[in-house]
């Protein structure tokens, strides 16, 4: 699964730690999601969407769908 977390975070000038605080997760989790090493659960994906005030599908996209 691909995501635009890093770009969206940079647009808001947030550090990984700041975003992690808002999401109530570790900084390592934010980093792992940004680098694609970890796909968040659906509840966490919804939290991320709420923090960025965007629909989930504008943040996350299915890799298979992207490459098709």
């Amino acid at each position: 699964m691909k995501n635009r977390l890093k770009v969206l975070r940079a647009e808001r000038n947030w550090s990984q730690a700041e975003l992690a605080d808002q999401l109530e997760v570790s900084r390592q989790s934010v980093n792992a999601i940004e680098t694609g090493k970890y796909d968040p659960s659906l509840p966490l994906a919804f939290r991320i969407a709420r923090v960025f005030a965007m629909p989930i599908e504008q943040i996350f996209s299915d890799e298979a769908e992207v490459s098709a």
Binding site: E24, S26, Q28
Partner: protein
């Protein structure tokens, strides 16, 4: 074993402190219980009846269960990534120690390798879990 506190999330410091404190208390109780049990069973001038020996021999399980409960509480305080890391590390540990002890039992039985007590299974699980946690965590960095 604890994780790096700064990297665990906002609630991590408080949770880690509670974990370390509870583990330390359970460890002190464990040492006291084992010391008491050994004294009662091996060094007393009188012989305990078999049922009493069984009860005394089972007492170290109480602090061990306390440690397990403390760990489960700590696990639930982690975020989902760290819970996954822990789960994967336990799976590696269970697999390695399970297959290792299974294999060694054949060597013990048929190739007359030195006998190893069952009591070492639990420390082996914890040791391998500690190593596995380190390596699994690196995969998500």
């Amino acid at each position: 074993m604890t994780c790096e506190t700064d990297d665990l999330g906002p609630k991590a410091k408080q949770a880690t402190r509670a974990y370390v404190r509870s583990m330390a208390i359970a460890a002190v109780i464990y040492i006291a219980v084992v010391f008491g049990a050994v004294t009662l069973i091996r060094h007393m001038p009188f012989h305990l009846p078999q049922w009493a020996v069984i009860i005394v021999a089972l007492t170290p399980v109480i602090p061990a269960l306390m440690m397990l409960r403390t760990y489960m509480t700590y696990l639930r305080s982690m975020d989902e990534l760290h819970r996954r890391i822990q789960t994967e590390a336990w799976l590696v540990s269970a697999g390695a120690v399970g297959v290792g002890s299974f294999t060694y039992s054949f060597l013990e039985e048929w190739a007359h390798f030195p006998r190893i007590d069952l009591v070492w299974i639990f420390p082996a699980l914890i040791f391998v879990w500690g190593l596995a946690t380190y390596y699994v965590r690196r995969r998500y960095k």
